[in-house]
Symmetry: C2
Subunit: 431 residues, 2 copies
Amino acid sequence: MEKTKVGIIGLGTVGSGVAKILLDHGDRTARHAGRVLWLEKAAVRDLSKPRDCDLPDGVLTDSIDEVIDHPEIKVVAQLMGGIEPARSVMIRLLESGKDVVTANKALLAEHGPELFDKARELGRSIAFEASVAGGIPIIANLSQCLTSNQVTSLHGILNGTSNFILDKMHTEGAAYSDVVAEAQRLGYAEADPSMDVDGTDAAQKLAILCQLAFGARLNWRDIPRSGIDTVDLLDVNYAQEMGYKIKLLAIADLKEHGLDCEVNPALVRAGSPLGEVGGPFNAVLVKGDAVGPLFYHGQGAGQMPTASAVAADLIDTAVGRTAITFRTLGLWSDQVKGVDQADFATSTGKRYVRAMVEDSPGVLAKVTEAFGAEGISIASILQKEPLEGDTAVPLVVMTHRASEAATDRACAKIAALDACRGEPVKMWVRD
Amino acid sequence: MEKTKVGIIGLGTVGSGVAKILLDHGDRTARHAGRVLWLEKAAVRDLSKPRDCDLPDGVLTDSIDEVIDHPEIKVVAQLMGGIEPARSVMIRLLESGKDVVTANKALLAEHGPELFDKARELGRSIAFEASVAGGIPIIANLSQCLTSNQVTSLHGILNGTSNFILDKMHTEGAAYSDVVAEAQRLGYAEADPSMDVDGTDAAQKLAILCQLAFGARLNWRDIPRSGIDTVDLLDVNYAQEMGYKIKLLAIADLKEHGLDCEVNPALVRAGSPLGEVGGPFNAVLVKGDAVGPLFYHGQGAGQMPTASAVAADLIDTAVGRTAITFRTLGLWSDQVKGVDQADFATSTGKRYVRAMVEDSPGVLAKVTEAFGAEGISIASILQKEPLEGDTAVPLVVMTHRASEAATDRACAKIAALDACRGEPVKMWVRD
């Protein structure tokens, strides 16, 4: 049987998982690829570090050049994290005639255009299934399965850490900081979880998906975003009481005026597919004009789910499917006319607004007036008992559909009331 | 831009949808395929029949030969239903050097081995995404995205008609026959719905999926199956009371002793992904040893979802991906050693059993004894009031895990009791 020699750069959690699949399950890759994917070299920084996989003699090396310069290695799983030296190594790999598989979403979100242009120029390919939503093959599904559709909307839970934390807040009534500590203990959150919980990770993934689904060439930094680090247990409880769950949603909706992209904690109806995504799972709800709604749910991270995606890319690359897809899609290419990002302020939707107000006569009227003056109708209103040891009462308003700008003006008016304490909390409601 | 000339045979609901995508949305296929998919000929039986799409002059013909013999048509969407002449036409298309796209699951389930061998022999390909689960791209996902996994289990709701009917029975408390009439009125069920409701359709689809997921070369007739036509509203209500929904489940579980395949109405926990599949939707829950659980949910039928799948296959075929996948997978090939079907009687699981018994002393003891004698523990038991105008009471037992054979023996003993009226109803419980 024909052999395709494969290299791996980086044997961390995911790299070790990929090595295991190649070494222990050669029968599968043979069955599905009609050839053996042969692990020829695996480059690591530190040879002495204990690892999670047994490599045959001669495979492990601490020289990246042994992979880059190896004349028989055709495909490389480049599994270094961060931007540099990952970027330079990827360019060197492409220049030495290798096709590359990566899981590095930050690198693609930052340097996708440069790297994809380089690969095209050199007649090489980059596969990146593992860069978004771990085990959910959303990249292949958007690149190949939905190609006869105009995707009209894509809503995703793309950060498993945030989902784990929010889910625990809902199910256990625990405060954000306590759950973060638990997530760190269980390995679902990094020692510094900021990229996960502040929306950066989800925005980078959304930028990649928008390129595939809409041809939109976005800088992830231009995607309006907020994280879950400011979500109050109070709002988790009120949302739940009204039949909703708070989820960190990455959304892209195709509107008349362009593509509306955002990453925000939002209220999603309990019992809906996205509302029921628990633990560290990921999910994507895509709507296409022909196919209708398609919902995907699976593991968003972890050694083997991510390795599964990397190994599928290695197979696709070895058999030649990736080269075709890469060539026909023209990702991040100036030649492809995609859609532009819409102006944030023109976005419309239903909102959840919670203000802390002094419980004095006439306050409720002033709050409802603030919405009325902006032409925003109120769908429901909830006035709660004052919190223990406090005189302010939480006032929760659910609006009907209104523009972002109008809702912001109404909230500013409420914040300016003498009776209002601090800034009102506001979140989208996505049905 | 390069052109790939395409033919369609059959302009029914799906064929018209495919024609619409090709004619109205050439920009999409151009963007995703890097070439134009040009509808050259569409063959129909009756030229005078009114259709759902406007074709340019010269495209429509009532001669299949005009498609088969056309020297420039490279890919044909062969959308004839039934077995013959669909089978012969497909062979003629392959022989005349054309790659074929089909949505005909019955044809593949019956003649997959012959047709795939023929295509391999001739160096051609057959794409069949639309044959299973309509808009859900489960074929591509199993063929390409999960190739580094051993799939260990596949549970699907593959028949939208049955799901629509069962869902209505649950939500509206309506009897089977009333809901069938409604489904027919809404176009979700055929005038003769037997293939949908008796499990045939789901078994044929399951046979195709088992080929992809497990390499199992099954005759769909050997898949033990029962349909929803015998599901009693009584059991729908009791299932609901115990926190379950009744769904027509097509399952394939990889066990030590082989592949356990069945199509049956089964109890699925409410709130679980499969339990919440409503209306005419389809869903598939796949478990892979690397990727873990992956859940897909989407439209199982309908003009545009199915056309979306056919058009994606046309694109995949035009760009060359299908040829690669078809060659590497060796589907239905004698060369591929797959897994065998397990013996039905060795299957184990939890069971729902409902017997109608005379409400006399000692009956409950005899029923529980019947289970005890077979070593089956009872998880819960529910004795209901007698139905109006009846002396018999429904006795509902939920067992712990036991073998199919043992549960059948226990049920036979219960049926043989003087106090038992008729055969007990039994269904699997799938958590």
